[in-house]
């Protein structure tokens, strides 16, 4: 479903070019659960943004289901975001003006889900993430970890086909982290394609494949065997 060939991404700083991603070649099949790892600044978030079509590569080609992404228009991209792709941001990115409940509900609104169904879906997720009590609070009234939970809840509520999660458990207590990873595993089993970024070796084991980035290069790309 995802096919990257010779992707490059760089920033110009005066005359100086700094590469963030270099010569990335990558294929992801539907139903895979891929973990991306690497030191800070190695380009993980940048890669995820490109995969999520929020950002464009400076060079190379990105085929999504055999179609060139750079040819997609705004409308097509909006459609994909609406129905196909879910995001968990490293910096949470909740809407400050909306309550927890409303933040989680937003993707459903854009999808045109009926009010009754929305209510039950949101209630379900709130319950599962154990944040029912917080549902009427605004983001700035939550702790960092709680905001992260809301961010994850928002990403998965619409059951996207492709989930891009940037350090979804970075700020969470171990047991909460495990809960999230169990959830991801279950979603994966149900057929969701997942790409996650993490620094946590244990979390990486939930996936089926690990990609290691360093200085913008792919250093390693190998499947995870259950006994490894």
């Amino acid at each position: 479903m995802i096919h990257l060939s010779n992707i490059e991404r760089f920033y110009k700083n005066g005359l100086l070019k700094t590469w963030v991603l270099r010569d990335i070649n990558l294929q992801v099949q539907p139903g895979e659960f891929v973990t991306i790892m690497g030191p800070s600044g190695s380009g993980k978030t940048t890669l995820l943004n490109i995969l999520g079509m929020l950002d464009q590569p400076d060079k190379g080609e990105y085929l999504f289901f055999d179609e060139a992404v750079h040819k997609f228009n705004e409308k097509k991209r909006t459609e994909l975001h609406k129905h196909y792709i879910g995001f968990v941001f490293q910096a949470y990115h909740l809407i400050d003006e909306l309550t927890v409940y409303e933040n989680i509900e937003t993707p459903l609104l854009y999808r045109g889900v009926k009010s009754q169904e929305r209510k039950s879906l949101v209630a379900d997720v709130l319950d599962r993430f154990n944040i029912v009590a917080k549902k009427d609070l605004f983001p700035h009234q939550l702790s960092g970890g709680q905001q992260q939970l809301v961010g994850v809840a928002r990403a998965i509520i619409g059951k996207p086909k492709l989930l891009l999660a940037d350090e979804p458990t970075g700020n969470l207590h171990t047991s909460q982290g495990e809960m999230i990873m169990d959830l991801f595993a279950q979603l994966h089993k149900e057929g969701m394609t997942i790409l996650q970024v993490t620094h946590n070796e244990k979390n990486a084991l939930y996936g089926s494949r690990v990609i290691k980035l360093e200085d913008g290069f792919v250093r390693e790309d190998k499947p995870i065997t259950p006994d490894a």
Partner: protein, 782 residues
């Protein structure tokens, strides 16, 4: 300290260019309007103020009471002036003053129409119209003296000394120049080119000796310290005691002549002062809108300056000191805007002057103007800066560091209220402009009951009095002329009325004022009025010289169902009604439909000529001129078109309409400026939200709608607030017209639509821009 503030202000100005431009331009436009309006108000208030004895000068007005109404006139009986002076010790001077007659004044080969007034010797001691040459004591004592203004002296005599020269008036009487008056100031309501002693004027009109006729103006001067109310009480009944029982006199003080001279039912209803107030309020409105822009943008951008406030506070600045800093900033801004505004005003003044036929100029404005503008600038600066100063200086360093300032709900609410106020003012001005425009169109197009198009009139003078029949015959032979008739006044502004009418069954107590129109043969046809029953006057019926035509209103007031054939009497002369006219207008639209009685008389002050519609007008006018010049060689050919003169009557409203349009546009423009700035700021502040929403699947259209709706809601609230207010105010304005439009609902809808559209366009542009922005960049900025 101040130079530090100035430096920071200028730096902020340059750093936030769009924001600063909006503030500066808005305030400058507001102040430009203010400076023009201040100039104009100053001029209006200066009317007649040049008279040295201004506090002691009065004009006599008559309130005449009739059955259904009280009418107020400036005409008084001839003997009044002398009686006032003789009977009341506090009245030191009095003079009758004629209405201002246009006459042909000639010296040698120079011959022009000029306006003169006939006055009594006291005139020169009452009013400050100084003599540059001649003796004030004796100048008006010889009936054949004439006093001319310096302008006239230059025109007729060039460099020569005018004193003692003999000028010929209307080709029949000679006058000797006995004085040269300083030119009449532009701000005088009493206007004239020359003055004559009253003697010859008195000889021409017998009725001036009677207490029962009101036909001349009377002015008087009192001893210092005498109040208008007190002197009115004393003189009130004089005319009533001398025969006209329905008349009460009023001493109208000089300061009111120009500004407060509209009376309705015997009560003062205002006058020009209303316009002065109206435009004063509009200036304040526009300034207010500009101030709101300033407040909104400053508080909105406050987050950017939160750090500065925090740091300054930590380093020991008190709240007062900080407020002082922000106030100085807004004062500096408003001073800059003031300079720019005055420059803008200087550019716009020629347009304004043309529209109002004024000669306002900033260069000759005088200290009053600069004082007024200084005050406006300082007040604007303080108003605009007050809230930001209060708001910004209140930041607490701890909260600033936590980044909590953005969530200050109070400021957001206030900003919304202010934007709503701006919208409301704009809606108010749009509705006002629309209603005024429609009323003017209504007046222009209303069926007057006669046909004012292609209707020409020629004032009768010189030899025309005797040669009317010949001229008429020759004119009638021209193919472009349909009919010719005569009358003794102008139809579009008739003002010759009497209550001396009686009919069978009249209640002797009843007093109704009838317009009486003396006409020649063929008048009804010439002006294009129509007969409902009976016939027009005709030479075939010799008895018509004592017969009458009346209009429908007159018939109704006299209680006649079948008026034709009935007998009535006018001025004690009895005759028969031979025709019933459909109602037609004899005046401006401020007057109600009057009852009219037409009589057949050879009193022909004006010749009315009905032209055939179509072109060839200039050729026709040329051949008409030949006829008039042939029979009346001493006078130039002068003619007027009734439709144009009629429009002239409503010139004031037309100008008000023009101005309302300009100001409504300006108000909206300045509001838009602010809105534009605010919207760009809001979009900027919501980039993160927009980015997230896009990632979650929101479309560009959806985001644009989201941002625009916020403002649209405010616009809707404004429409609901402004509409009833506008309805009330415009209804009040319309009350001044006897014939007026209703205010249809769609005026409000249209005003609302315009406002909403403008809001959508202004905000929409920013919103689309925000919606199209790359979400990664927005999200990265966190």
């Amino acid at each position: 300290m101040f130079s530090n503030y100035l430096k920071i202000t200028l730096r902020t100005l340059l750093k936030q260019r769009v924001h600063s431009m909006i503030n500066l331009l808005g305030l400058a436009l507001g102040l430009a309007c203010t400076s023009i309006i201040v100039l104009w108000i100053k001029r209006e208030l200066s009317m007649n103020q040049f008279h040295e004895h201004k506090a002691e000068l009065f004009r006599v007005l008559e309130h005449q009471t009739y059955d259904d109404a009280v009418f107020t006139f400036a005409a008084t009986p001839g003997p009044l002036a002398e009686k006032l002076k003789a009977d009341f010790p506090e009245i030191t001077h009095a003079s009758r003053v004629s209405w201002g007659e246009r006459s042909l004044l000639a010296y040698g080969r120079e011959s022009f129409y000029q306006e003169g007034r006939s006055v009594e010797p006291d005139f020169l001691e009452m009013f400050t119209f100084p003599l540059l040459q001649g003796n004030q004591e004796t100048a008006l004592s010889n009936p054949n003296n004439i006093l001319i203004t310096r302008e006239l002296a230059d025109k007729y005599f060039g460099g020569e000394d005018p004193m003692g020269k003999v000028m010929r008036l209307d080709d029949e009487a000679d006058y000797e120049v006995a004085g040269v008056l300083a030119d009449i100031p532009e701000n005088s309501t009493l206007k004239f080119d020359f003055l004559l002693p009253l003697d010859n004027y008195l000889k021409q009109d017998e009725s001036l000796n009677s207490w029962n006729n009101n036909s001349i103006q009377c002015y008087f001067r009192v001893r210092p310290g005498v109040e208008a109310g007190a002197i009115t009480e004393k003189i009130k009944k004089i005319v009533a005691e001398n025969g006209q029982e329905n008349v009460a006199l009023l001493a109208h003080p000089l300061s009111d002549w120009y500004l407060r001279s509209r009376f309705q039912d015997g009560k003062l209803q205002g006058g020009r002062i209303d316009s002065v107030r109206l435009f004063g309020i509009i200036a304040v409105f526009i300034l207010l809108i500009a101030c709101i822009n300033f407040m909104n943008l400053s508080t909105a951008k406050s987050a950017n300056r939160a750090m500065e406030v925090g740091v300054r506070k930590v380093s020991g600045a008190t709240r007062g000191l900080l407020a002082g800093q922000f106030l100085s900033e807004s004062l500096i801004m408003s001073a800059l805007a003031g300079l720019l505004g005055i420059a803008l005003a200087a550019v716009a003044l020629p347009y304004f002057n043309r529209l109002f036929e004024l000669e306002l100029a900033i260069s000759s404005a005088g200290p009053g103007f600069w004082l007024g503008m200084g005050a406006a600038i300082v007040i604007t600066g303080l108003v605009a800066g007050s809230y930001p100063a209060f708001f910004l200086s209140g930041f607490q360093p701890v909260k600033v560091l936590k980044g909590l300032v953005r969530k200050s709900g109070g400021a957001v609410q206030l900003r919304k209220a202010l934007v709503t106020a701006q919208f409301a003012i704009s809606v108010l001005l749009i509705i006002g402009a629309l209603v005024i425009y429609r009323q003017i169109q209504f007046i222009k197009n209303k069926n007057l009951g006669y046909d004012k198009e292609n209707l020409l009139y020629v004032p009768v003078n010189g030899a025309l009095w005797d040669k009317y029949e010949t001229v008429k015959t020759e004119l009638m032979q021209m193919p472009g002329i349909l009919s010719v008739s005569s009358t003794n006044g102008q139809v579009h502004q008739w003002g010759n009325n009497t209550s001396n009418v009686s009919w069978e069954g009249k209640d002797p107590e009843q007093a109704i004022l009838f317009q009486t129109i003396p006409v020649g043969y063929g008048f009804v046809k010439t002006i294009g009025a129509s007969l409902k029953a009976g016939r027009d006057f005709s030479p075939e019926f010799p008895a018509d010289s004592t017969n009458f035509l009346i209009n429908e209103t007159a018939a109704r007031l006299m209680g006649m169902d079948e008026p034709v054939g009935q007998t009535i009497s006018l001025w004690e002369e009895t005759g028969r009604i031979v025709g019933l006219l459909r109602d037609f207008h004899v005046g401006s639209f401020h007057q109600a439909q009057d009852p009219v009685i037409m009589i057949l008389r050879p009193w022909k002050n004006f010749i009315y000529i009905r032209l055939k519609p179509g072109d060839g007008l200039s050729g026709l006018l040329a051949s008409m001129e030949m006829v008039f010049r042939k029979h009346n060689p001493a006078y130039p050919f002068e003619y007027h078109f009734t439709d144009r003169e009629y429009e002239e009557l409503h010139r004031n409203e037309q100008r008000t309409g023009e101005l309302a349009k300009v100001f409504a546009f300006l108000a909206i423009f300045v509001s838009c400026l602010g809105l534009f700035g605010l919207a760009s700021f809001m979009a900027e502040q919501r980039t993160k939200e927009i980015g997230i929403r896009k990632v979650l699947g929101a479309s560009v259209g959806g985001i644009t709608r989201l941002l625009t709706m916020d403002f649209l809601k405010l616009a809707l609230i404004a429409i609901f607030i402004a509409s009833p207010l506008a309805y009330y105010l415009m209804n009040k304005w319309l009350q001044g017209f006897a014939f007026r439009i209703g205010i249809p609902w769609w005026v409000f809808a249209l005003a609302g639509l315009i406002t909403a559209l403008v809001a959508i366009l202004t905000v929409g542009f920013q919103s689309v821009k925000a919606a199209l922005a790359n979400p990664v960049r927005a999200l990265r900025s966190e």
